[in-house]
């Protein structure tokens, strides 16, 4: 991954003819060679954003550049750079795998290249099925065909819109492996997903979109560090009625049944000194029979960000009214 941007979006908005505001003043930069995960609840604007970049939906006001080129004025050059795996399995059911992959390569202005397509189909375990009609393939295989089509013209940028929705664990892991390999080959990958673990596992950077607005864009590791919470849970040998009065530790709570003490702290906060907490408890005669720690997942962070954003929007709307 480099710091050079390959996609640059400035002040992009999109309102559909129905009046629905899908995107609201989006500003976003995607770096060349990164895996960027775009997260957001249903209807947040993920697919609208991807569809505009890929030419499926007309953009609203704003500026969109891919590889430094305008997506409307230089649409031919821009689209040649892009491969798209759509959310829905949209394929011509009566065609063969080979015919449909060749069609896509041709659409992107590339000469037929049987050797490359054979390599591609083999890498996706589709070679044995190349003469099969698409209607005879399983759901997972159809999704592989969509990926093969998206890669048939050797794009520099690959959009994956919910690529692993409805596929089994084995295939999902195969896809993750393939996505990493593509990134290693220099392909920039923009991924939308509902499986937060997918983003957590693969993404270099994460963007959260909610109600058409970008809520946050952050390096994944930095995001986990900044917003991630850790917890220390102590299981007590005997229930406590309440915490002794002398204990003044922020983030320390007693469970309702009195059997557990939980200490929550930020990963980036140096005040989260577990040793000091345990010493203080000992000094007040509190012992424990077991302990464990846990860290909040990207999913927890995502949920809390979206909830906070929803609450903020609701408050702002209330104030306006």
């Amino acid at each position: 991954m480099t710091d050079e941007s390959i996609i640059s979006i400035s002040n992009l908005s999109k309102r559909y003819p129905s009046g629905f505001q899908a995107l609201d003043n989006i500003n976003l930069t995607i770096k060349r060679g990164e895996i960027f995960a775009l997260l957001g609840p249903n209807g947040a604007g993920k697919t609208s954003l991807i569809s505009i970049l890929c030419g499926l939906v007309n953009p609203g006001p704003g500026e969109l550049k891919v590889g430094g080129l305008d997506v409307i004025k230089d649409y031919r050059a821009v689209r040649k750079m892009i491969g798209l795996v759509p959310q829905e399995i949209a394929i011509s059911m009566f065609e063969t795998v080979w015919a449909t992959v060749n069609l896509t390569r041709g659409l992107y202005g590339k000469k037929p290249d049987d050797a490359y397509l054979e390599k591609l189909l083999r890498s996706l375990s589709l070679w044995e099925k190349k003469d099969n009609k698409l209607m005879t393939l399983s759901g997972g295989m159809k999704r592989r065909v969509l990926i093969a089509k998206a890669l048939s013209h050797q794009p520099q940028i690959l959009f994956l819109d919910e690529p692993t929705a409805g596929v089994d664990v084995e295939l999902r892991r195969d896809m993750w492996k393939m996505i990493r390999e593509l990134r290693n080959d220099g392909v920039t990958i923009i991924l939308t997903t509902h499986y937060i673990e997918e983003a957590e596992d693969m993404a270099d950077r994460v963007g959260v979109i909610n109600k058409g607005r970008i809520v946050l864009v952050e390096e994944k590791a930095e995001l986990m560090k900044k917003l991630g919470k850790r917890q220390l849970v102590l299981e007590l040998p005997a229930p406590l009625m309440s915490l002794p009065e002398g204990i003044q530790i922020e983030g320390l709570t007693l469970s309702r049944d009195g059997n557990k003490l939980t200490y929550s702290y930020d990963t980036h906060n140096s005040s989260g000194d577990i040793g000091q907490v345990i010493r203080t408890l000992y000094e007040h005669g509190i012992e424990f029979r077991d302990l464990h720690t846990s860290q909040s997942s990207l999913e927890d962070i995502f949920v809390s960000l979206v909830s906070a954003n929803d609450a903020h929007t609701a408050t702002a709307t209330g104030e306006l009214q």
Partner: protein, 253 residues
């Protein structure tokens, strides 16, 4: 110009025809042959010559057009409707291909099928009916021009249609009746005077007569005027298609 894309779509569409030869070629050829047998050989032998042409020969151009018009519309409409129906239109919209290239590819493929079908019917007709062609190059020109024009019309229909029923409405409820009433089986001079005037408002009259002129050198209307009408209809279709892609009507929001 993205020639690879045009070629890819063209080839893909012709392969689809190859897979469905019975439906695409055999079925229309068979049904038209039945017309030649019934109206040409059986009933035609008891009919008077029209403008010095035997009745069986007189109906050949009209019957070829009847099939070519309906199949041109069906082929082109289906070829663009199916990607809309199954969602694969996203590929066209996301590809580096212009509206002009999309139309050339789809309409070109559909028109190729129609011209081939028309020529097969022409050869089949020769098995049942004795006729000759006075202006073979003009005959070919009319066939190609009419096929392209009605494929353009079919393309519009395929974008407009929201279901399979709508796809069938225009060919079966509009084009076929207009072709039957457009002088395929008779000369409009055989109609009462008032109906002759009404018939001139039927655009198919000009197609049939222009095409028939290329066969026998006789026509109810001026052949150049027929040609002009076909070109006018083609320009109207091209304008509508230009508007469709400009506005994204039923394709892009």
């Amino acid at each position: 110009m993205n020639f690879h894309a045009i070629k890819a779509i063209y080839k893909f569409e012709l392969n689809r025809t190859r897979r469905t030869l019975t439906q695409s070629i055999a079925s229309p050829v068979l049904s038209t042959s039945l017309y030649f047998i019934v109206f040409g050989s059986a009933i035609g032998s008891r009919m008077m010559d029209i403008d010095g042409v035997s009745y069986a020969a007189f109906i050949v151009p009209g019957l070829i057009l009847l099939t070519v018009l309906v199949e041109s519309i069906n082929n082109a409409a289906f070829s663009i409707y199916m990607p809309r129906f199954n969602g694969t239109i996203y590929e066209l919209l996301a590809a580096p291909i212009s509206a002009f290239e999309i139309v050339i590819a789809y309409v070109g493929a559909a028109a190729t099928k129609s011209v081939v079908l028309g020529l097969i019917i022409l050869l089949t007709a020769r098995l049942f009916v004795d006729f000759s062609i006075v202006y073979p190059l003009w005959m070919l020109a009319f066939l190609v021009l009419i096929s392209i024009t009605f494929c353009l019309f079919g393309f519009i229909l395929g974008v407009w249609a929201d279901g399979f029923e709508r796809l069938q409405v225009v060919p079966s409820m509009v084009v076929m009746p207009l072709t039957f009433l457009g002088g395929s089986f008779y000369s409009i001079s055989m109609l009462p005077e008032a109906w002759q005037t009404i018939a001139l408002f039927n655009p198919v009259v000009y197609l049939v007569n222009g095409f028939r002129w290329s066969f026998y050198g006789v026509s109810d209307v001026n052949a150049a005027f027929s040609l002009g009408m076909i070109v006018l209809f083609m320009l109207i279709c091209l304008t509508v298609i230009w508007w469709i892609f400009k506005t994204g009507y039923k394709i892009k929001v």
